[in-house]
């Protein structure tokens, strides 16, 4: 057992101290948002900085939960996140596994995947593709076009390659089909990677904002981020040229307490993902990056 020297103890304490300080700095905005969301508007206006509610007030949350558009968007975002992540995992995993086997054209497929990693089509061509495939104004426009993230695909493939071939060979000899091997051997062994990627995909779906605005023109189909944007940043358009926009605010933005409550409700669900998947996450992130 390695006994820590005096110098090492000091070094460790300094590290801990610095890390705690940095964490507090990062937590600080969130504490502020939390505090303001549970305070009354008067308290907020009277105090320069509020880090803990002076009086606990739930009006802001009541207002948000009574708002139909907000609740609808929560439902939409949940749907897109859950279904989208399942679609993502199914497609990414199967394509990644397929590319670990010797198939015709494997090199070209891999090259084209790599190509999309570096180059992106851009907004307008992507919009045209979505339009021509009839996905405009459908929630599937948020799920299908981005079904496979090339980076995730490549990493997952690396991960599959790191599973010893002997296991699948043995299964082959026993008469298993490729699909059975995939389903019964590879996938169960890949739980860490799958957990990690599901987290990445889920966060990306939960954050859908621009695609939702671009492809969906039915307010009932908007995601939570779009609605949140309307609530929180309702007083934009502040440039020297667009100065008049400021003057046209017929509906002033909701008070800051409601804005903060909206932020809390839009952020907390996805935050809760992390602790549950954390053990898989820590393991999964590093897997596949180094070939044994």
């Amino acid at each position: 057992m390695h006994h820590r020297t005096w110098a090492e103890r000091i070094g460790d304490s300094l590290n801990v101290f610095a890390l705690v300080l940095i964490s507090l700095v990062m937590l600080f905005p969130f504490v502020y948002i939390f505090a303001v969301s549970f305070s009354s508007l008067e308290d907020v206006l009277r105090n320069q900085l509020l880090l803990w509610p002076k009086h606990w007030v739930f009006d802001s949350y009541a207002y948000i939960f009574a708002s139909k558009p907000f609740l609808t968007s929560l439902y939409v975002s949940t749907f897109v996140t859950v279904v989208g992540t399942v679609v993502n995992l199914a497609f990414t995993a199967s394509m990644a596994y397929g590319l670990t086997r010797d198939i015709y054209g494997k090199k070209w497929i891999l090259l084209s995947v790599l190509f999309t990693l570096i180059f992106s089509a851009g907004i307008i061509p992507t919009y045209m593709v979505v339009k021509e495939t009839g996905l405009l104004n459908s929630l599937w426009s948020l799920i299908l076009p981005a079904a496979i993230n090339p980076f995730n695909l490549i990493v997952m493939r690396q991960f599959f390659l790191s599973i010893p071939e002997d296991i699948s060979d043995a299964a082959l000899i026993d008469g298993a089909t490729e699909f059975q091997i995939f389903r019964r051997i590879i996938l169960p062994l890949s739980k860490p990677a799958l957990a990690a990627f599901s987290l990445f995909y889920a966060v990306a779906h939960w954050n859908s904002y621009f695609s939702a605005i671009l492809y969906l023109n039915d307010p009932a189909k908007w995601t939570i981020q779009v609605v949140l944007r309307q609530i929180v940043i309702a007083n934009e358009g502040v440039s020297a040229l667009g100065a008049e926009a400021r003057q046209v605010m017929e509906n002033p933005p909701p008070p800051i307490t409601i804005q903060m409550a909206a932020i809390m409700i839009a952020t907390v669900p996805i935050l809760l993902f992390y602790p549950f998947l954390q053990k898989h996450f820590a393991k999964g992130v590093m897997l596949g990056s180094v070939k044994e």
Partner: protein, 531 residues
């Protein structure tokens, strides 16, 4: 690098790239391609009992109604159309509009927030319908003044219909009269007096509460309000001329330099909002309405009852009045006029072969623009009652004022109408003061209406000309000027750097902008004019 470091770096890269917001790729706006696909069901020109399918795209700041609300059904019924309106959130509208139009999908009715380079470029490329011949047939279009049609033109033809915005009711400065009275001060009529008042508000406890918690000028990010008491001192007005007789933007004028020095002096005395450069509108608005700052902005249109009620709770004796414009050294005295419109609608050029459909669309637009005097905005006026969704359903009358149903229920046709802003014959006809309830707000707005009617307004030539470089670069250049001038106010940058700032502006495109704007001004034969 050893294995551990490699995995650490790769995992960091993976985590960072995956957890960052997903974006839709970094495309840039391209020129509109040849519109080959025609998404509309074009009906052949024929009788007027045809049911037309009309598509539209536009934006709203907030309160976006559902896609097929009852209000929309009422429109379809009344005008015999299938009206499909895509209402987008304001914040990404510019991007979305560019994408939609560039993909060849030119809808029948297209909303623009500002008529900028994109609008003129597309108009010149033939994306929109010429409207000149139709205007005489629609009363609300005939009411638009010639100088407001100017910005709608490209190559001399009209391509857009302006939406109403009072031409003369821009923001102007308002001041706490109760504080002036408490300190025995007269209403300031020039900058020396205003300076004294601002310092007095800061140091002499005008709200008489024994606490040192008040100050003079409320100021926020982007130097808003800019405290120009007339076009002579304004930033965005093209009022002054340079040595060659060319109009220049107020931002780089000597007069603005003097005003910047004035603001810097007051800032040093603590009479200006501290940290103003970081305050967003919500925050600096609160400075005034929480009773801290005594001088701020107001306008007859768009004032907020809740804010005023909040102020009255803190200072029950608050009385706010409008500050009339100062007399400038050149003898001018007046406010700055706006462009006379905010947002505009263009029609697709593809409608050229379907004049009956165009007339149906213009009928809908014209209907929404009809001016209904304030005292007729109730169920007795059939048009008003229909537009607002019928009394008891889309709206109710409370205390003599209209209370609308929740926007997300979509009960009111006016939420969906292509143009829903009444075109008032004159700004005063809006009678804004009568639309408010809080007494202090009513008296303030009455005062504002009075000063606006007593003083003339400067027509800013920048709205009349089309300078491509202006649309392309002015936003950025103006922002840079504002940034530097903000620093001059706080003292971070010395005012002696003014000339350097102006040179940078000129070098980075300002010179070209001035050249183009003045060409346009000469072409239209414009001289300094007021209305």
């Amino acid at each position: 690098m050893d294995k551990r470091a490699l995995t650490a770096v790769l995992s960091a890269v993976l985590a960072v790239s995956a957890v960052a917001c997903s974006s839709g790729g970094g495309g840039s706006a391209k020129e509109p391609s040849d519109a080959s696909t025609n998404p509309n069901n074009e009906q052949p020109a024929g009788n007027d009992n045809k049911k037309y399918t009309i598509t539209a795209i536009d934006f709203l700041f907030s309160g976006i109604p559902p896609k097929n609300g009852p209000g929309l059904q009422m429109i379809n019924e009344k005008f015999n159309v299938d009206f499909q309106k895509d209402i987008t959130v304001y914040s990404e509208y510019a991007q979305k509009l560019t994408t939609v139009i560039s993909s060849g999908n030119i809808l029948d009715i297209i909303g623009f927030e500002t008529l900028d380079g994109k609008f003129y470029k597309w108009a010149e490329q033939g994306a929109f319908l010429e409207l000149d011949d139709y205007i005489k047939d629609y009363p609300t279009l005939k009411m638009v003044a010639p100088d407001v049609w100017e910005p709608m033109k490209a190559k001399g033809k009209i391509y857009a219909i302006p939406r109403y915005f009072p031409a003369t009711y821009l923001n102007s400065i308002v001041i706490r009269k109760d504080w002036l009275d408490n300190l025995g001060l007269a209403v300031p009529t020039n900058y020396e007096e205003l300076k004294k008042v601002a310092i007095a508000f800061t140091k002499q406890d005008p709200d008489r509460n024994g606490k040192d918690d008040t100050y003079g000028l409320v100021l926020g990010q982007n130097i808003n309000p800019n405290y120009a008491m007339g076009p002579y001192w304004d930033t965005g007005s093209w009022y002054h001329k340079d040595a060659n007789g060319n109009f220049i933007p107020g931002f780089i004028s000597e007069q603005r330099k003097e005003l910047t020095q004035w603001l810097a002096d007051l800032y040093k005395e603590g009479a200006v909002t501290k940290d103003f450069a970081f305050m967003n509108p919500t925050q600096y608005n609160a400075e005034f309405y929480s009773g801290k700052g005594g001088i701020y902005l107001g306008s007859p249109r768009g004032m907020n009852e809740e804010y005023m009620k909040g102020l009255v709770k803190i200072h029950p004796d608050a009385k706010i009045i409008a500050l009339p414009p100062f007399k400038a050294p050149d003898g001018s005295q007046g406010f700055i006029a706006g462009s006379g419109y905010y947002t505009a609608l263009a029609l697709s050029a593809k409608l050229k072969d379907n004049p009956d459909k165009v007339r149906r669309i213009l009928e809908m637009i014209d209907y929404g623009r009809q001016f209904i005097p304030l005292d007729q905005r109730n169920s007795k006026n059939e048009m008003f009652d229909w537009l607002y969704g019928k009394e008891g359903v889309g709206y109710t009358i409370q205390d003599g004022k209209v209370a609308n149903a929740k926007p997300e229920d979509g009960l009111q046709p006016i939420q969906y109408m292509p143009d829903n802003k009444m075109w008032a014959p004159n700004d005063i006809d809006n009678q804004y003061s009568k639309t408010y309830v809080t007494p202090q707000l009513v008296s303030l707005v009455e005062d504002l209406e009075k000063v606006h009617s007593e003083y003339k307004h400067y027509i800013n030539p920048i709205y009349q000309v089309n300078s491509p470089t202006y649309f392309e670069k002015a936003g950025e250049l103006y922002n840079k000027l504002t940034e530097t001038q903000s620093k001059m106010i706080t003292g971070a940058v010395p005012i002696s750097d003014w000339d350097k700032m102006v040179d940078e502006f000129l070098k980075n495109g300002g010179e070209q902008i001035i050249k183009e704007v003045n060409e346009g001004i000469k072409q239209k034969g414009y001289e300094r004019s007021w209305k």
